[in-house]
């Protein structure tokens, strides 16, 4: 850098000052206005968006998927494309080079010119990098594709890594080959705009497909509202606890459970339990189990499947449903099984699924003793079981209808108990619901049920 160049820069700067403004008040005025705007924005964000609540640390919750602050997400996403043994290259070397280049930029970029038209290379490199960072961040926010969605994965790889990398290499190649300034500019501008458009289209496309194929997000209602927690807890209770404690927590003698048949238990919905156990005690019993007494542990910490948030939801459900000292928030009432109107035909989707989920699925799912009769879906309910079919359209003597009305049935594999086996039959309205459903030909959807209700003309 010679003295003449420096003098030229200085004298041009002096000219710019002549034509310029005053720091006070011209610039300060703009600065203050922006700061004020930011201040209002901050208050708005703090008031209306707030800080997302998070549960307390639980180092044993290995199922927790860690997520860095959003401004590190692009690095995280970038690392996903790097094969395991090269991770240190992606995590250390590449960012290291990035920071070094940034730090030494004034000494690397020896181009004297400052006007945009004379810095096309530098500006497009910056553009490609910025677009890529933005894109990686967007991809990180989209849910991860399932392993079988390999097409999307490789598309992401192209959009996130390969195209930007190739663009950068191409840009350098062009700037090397084409020394002629004017033509260089034109070609580079064309290449750069094509690359930028390609990147944006690919990113948009992959983000869009991802969004559409995304599995519905499993909602872990850790900090949800009370009604949400109760609903989640009810579901989890039905799946995990009904088999031993019954749908209403009032079982006194366990029946139909391998290894525990005939075991006497305290009804957990009784005042005895509700009044003497605190939420923490309940939480610990569910989490750690009562191994000597036959209750299995459910917390992930003890080898079970429920996260602390889920166990918390079960406790909330139990407390609000069985403890007569607390009031249930209105929104949580109703129980999820819609009542039937006079003459209405129930459908699987609307009525039967919630009913079986609450009262039967806990035993009638894979891995339990149940004569291989699974009830987790419509097809299973119609077709599985050692004595299948257990429901026959229009047959009031279907096995299922008999056992829920308290009649044992002689099956091929022995006697089938009444259901649920703990001796307390379903409420009359639910028995009636199942009878009406079978008699109407077991409609699956609400439309089928409506069609079955109006006899064909």
């Amino acid at each position: 850098m010679d003295e003449k160049f420096k003098q030229r820069v200085q004298s041009r700067y002096q000219q710019a000052l002549q034509r310029g403004e005053r720091f006070w008040p011209d610039s300060i005025y703009k600065d203050l206005l922006v700061s004020l705007g930011l201040f209002l924005l901050l208050i708005g964000l703090a008031t209306f968006v707030g800080v997302e609540p998070e549960p307390r640390v639980d180092p044993n919750d290995t199922a927790y998927v860690p997520r860095p602050e959003w401004y590190f997400l692009f690095l995280f996403e970038f690392l996903k494309f790097i094969p395991g043994q090269l991770e240190w290259v992606g995590a250390i070397v590449v960012p290291g080079i990035g920071v070094t280049v940034l730090l030494l930029l004034p000494f690397i970029d020896r181009n004297f010119y400052r006007h945009y038209s004379k810095r096309v290379l530098a500006l497009t490199v910056m553009g490609v990098i910025v677009v890529d960072i933005v894109m990686l961040t967007i991809m990180a926010f989209a849910p991860a594709p399932a392993p079988e969605q390999s097409a999307i994965k490789s598309m992401q790889m192209w959009a996130g890594l390969i195209i930007p990398a190739m663009t950068l290499i191409l840009l350098y190649a062009f700037s090397g080959i084409l020394k002629e300034p004017a033509s260089q500019r034109k070609t580079m501008i064309t290449t750069a705009s094509i690359a930028a458009i390609a990147i944006i289209v690919l990113a948009g496309g992959s983000a869009f497909t991802l969004q559409r194929n995304a599995p519905p997000k499993e909602k872990v209602a850790v900090a949800g509202t009370i009604p949400e927690q109760i609903a989640q807890g009810e579901e989890l209770y039905a799946v995990n606890c009904t088999e031993c404690h019954g749908a209403d927590g009032d079982v006194t003698v366990i029946q139909g459970v391998e290894g525990l048949d005939g075991k006497v238990v305290t009804p957990i919905s009784s005042k005895d339990v509700m009044y003497t156990f605190t939420d923490d005690t309940l939480f610990n019993i569910i989490s750690d189990g009562l191994p000597e007494l036959g209750m299995v542990p459910f917390g992930t910490a003890s080898g079970g499947e429920l996260s602390p948030g889920e166990i918390g939801a079960i406790v909330t459900y139990m407390r609000y449903t069985w403890d007569d000292r607390v009031e249930v928030p209105e929104a949580a009432q109703g129980g999820g099984i819609p009542a039937l109107a006079e003459g209405e035909v129930p459908s699987y989707d609307v009525h039967i699924a919630p009913l079986t989920k609450r009262y039967c699925v806990s035993c009638h799912r894979a891995g339990k003793e149940n004569n291989n009769y699974l009830m987790t879906s419509y097809e299973e309910m119609l077709n599985t079981g050692d004595n299948a079919p257990n429901v026959v359209a229009g047959d009031a003597n279907s096995i299922l209808l008999q056992v829920i009305q308290g009649h044992e049935v002689e099956g091929k594999t022995g006697t089938i108990n009444i259901m649920p086996p703990n001796g307390k039959l379903l409420k009359d309205e639910y028995v009636d619901m199942l009878i009406r459903w079978v008699m109407a030909g077991m409609p699956q959807t609400a439309e089928d049920a409506a069609a079955a209700a109006t006899p064909a003309p």
Binding site: V51, E54, P66, R67, V99, L123
Partner: protein, 219 residues
Amino acid sequence: MASKLYHWLNERLGFDDLYKGLLDRPEPRGTWWNTLGSATLFLFTMQVMTGIFLLMYYTPSPDHAYDSIQYIMNEVAFGWLIRGIHHWSATLMVLLVFLHMLRVFATASYKYPRELTWVIGVFLLLTTLGMGLTGYLLPWNQRSYFATTVATEIAGLVPGIGAFITRTLRGGTDLSALTLSRFFAAHVWMLPALLTVLIGIHLYLIIRHGESEYPTEED
């Protein structure tokens, strides 16, 4: 009387010179893009102020950190507002530092004679990210715990000395009370002090060289 007092004070403190030197300077014609730097500075001061408030109630120990945050959010008058501002201001600050850097790059303001302003700026960027990283752990909740586990693991990938770095950051093999107190110390003392010094140099350099002008065709 008032003017006499003014004169006396001015003679010793010299506001007139300050006014001339700092405020009444000519500047090249600027645009709204030139406010990004001062906007970052504003957010930094917000962080310092709200941070001091949070410090009054926050306890950096694994047993109490989470509860002290709950306490700030639910019990302390306007605690939620202070924490909300601190949280969002941190987010915006990273965004603005980045945008500020992009605008400086776009106008080529890092060239002679402002090379060092840029170099200091890069350190400012790194320190700001460091503030974000260390602050993330302090609420001691699921997200912070596991994100920090991963971040310190990544630091462990440095060939040769990786294991040492991870151990130093964590204060042991696992995240523990020591990790929390280290991150806390970094977040409330070391990095802010560093940031303040760096910002001081940054601003000194900006005043010394003046804000750069927008380049014209001949530049």
